[in-house]
């Protein structure tokens, strides 16, 4: 479902609004997360962990985090996006 508001941009693939993604942080490092639409997950770059989003609900229990094993995993994610608002 795509929200009408220009502020709440919701990607059908991502399943969460960019506004929500902005207020979430890694539960372990408390650092900002990066939204990766390709893998539909939230990336904690500082520790190389990916948290899945399932049915529009981010799974941010630490044990839900998937360690990104290699540079290939990191490269397969979207590159860091410049802030656009």
């Amino acid at each position: 479902m795509v929200r009408r508001s220009g502020v709440l941009l919701k990607s059908a693939a991502a399943g969460i609004s960019s506004r929500l993604a902005e207020i979430l942080v890694c539960p372990l490092t408390k650092q900002p997360l990066r939204m990766c639409e390709k893998t539909n997950s939230l990336i904690s770059d500082s520790i190389g962990v990916s948290y899945p989003i399932v049915d529009g609900i981010p799974r941010l229990v630490p044990s839900d985090g998937i360690i990104l094993q290699s540079d290939q995993d990191l490269n397969s994610s979207d590159p860091p996006q410049t802030n656009s608002s």
Partner: protein, 259 residues
């Protein structure tokens, strides 16, 4: 979610004999408790209504009022379960506000999301469900204008950590409202709670094959903190004020702590 929260899948066959002095194996680790809430999720809301004769709805409204939530706020509900408090908060913050509701049970969150999509009120669209751990909140410091936790703190293994996390994510001057069973220092209150669990709750729960699950309630109350201890814990983690209120004829209690 008021009333009973706990369910540990029992591998033993048959039902426990009702004995107020029986020792119930405590549901120790977080994974056990997570499994418990996943297991009771399908009947959770109905049993809450049944066991509390609908009173849990009143207690939750009181908890929301005590949080100081107002229109336009961004608020947090920890251990949101199937969403009762989140929906009440959503009505208060309105369409200009935001409710972030967090729980570690996938099944409870699924029910909450389903309830949300079945509702027609526009304000409910401002609730976001997050699967997360109360002891490791995925939010920056000073994010929220108010927070609530209903029938959750008692079930968290590391309560001090959870209190510290809630303290950090609240904006200075904001409040957290913590509703739960009252671990009373009054032997009368304790006896009434025990009696109700043994002779009302467990027999009814056994009709849903959840007798063992709801036995956990008794031990979880005994292992919980009294009102005074909760006030003390809040002070230790940094809250500037903490006041505990007994409600529901002393069976329930609500701590209000200000950052």
């Amino acid at each position: 979610m008021a009333a009973l929260q706990f369910a540990f899948p029992s591998t033993a066959g048959g039902r426990r004999r009702l004995d107020t002095r029986s020792t119930v194996r405590p549901v120790r680790c977080a994974a056990d408790r997570q499994a418990l809430f996943n297991r009771i999720a399908p009947v959770y809301d109905n049993l809450n209504d049944l066991f509390s004769l609908g009173m849990h709805r009143v207690w939750k409204r009181m908890a929301v009022s005590w949080s100081g939530v107002k229109q336009g706020d961004t608020v947090l509900d920890v251990c949101c379960g199937s969403g009762d408090l989140a929906f009440l908060l959503s009505e208060k913050v309105g369409t200009s506000g935001k409710v972030i509701a967090l729980d570690f049970s996938k099944q409870q969150l699924q029910i909450a999301a389903t309830r949300q999509s079945a509702q027609s009120k526009a304000c409910y669209k401002n609730i976001e469900w997050i699967e997360g751990d109360a002891a490791d909140l995925p939010f920056p410091r000073s994010s929220f204008d108010a927070a609530t936790i209903g029938y959750g703190l008692r079930n968290i293994v590391d309560r001090r950590k959870a209190m510290e996390e809630m303290y950090k994510v609240l904006k200075p001057g904001s409040k957290v409202s913590i509703l739960d069973f009252n671990k009373s220092t009054s032997s009368l209150n304790s006896s009434v709670q025990d009696w109700m669990i043994d002779y009302i709750v467990v027999p009814i729960a056994s009709g849903y094959s959840l007798a063992d699950e709801y036995q956990y309630l008794k031990s979880s109350i005994k292992e919980y903190l009294t009102g005074k201890e909760l006030e003390q814990l809040a002070g230790e983690v940094g809250f500037s004020e903490a006041k505990f209120y007994e409600i529901g004829a002393g069976l329930m209690g609500n701590l209000v702590a200000t950052r």
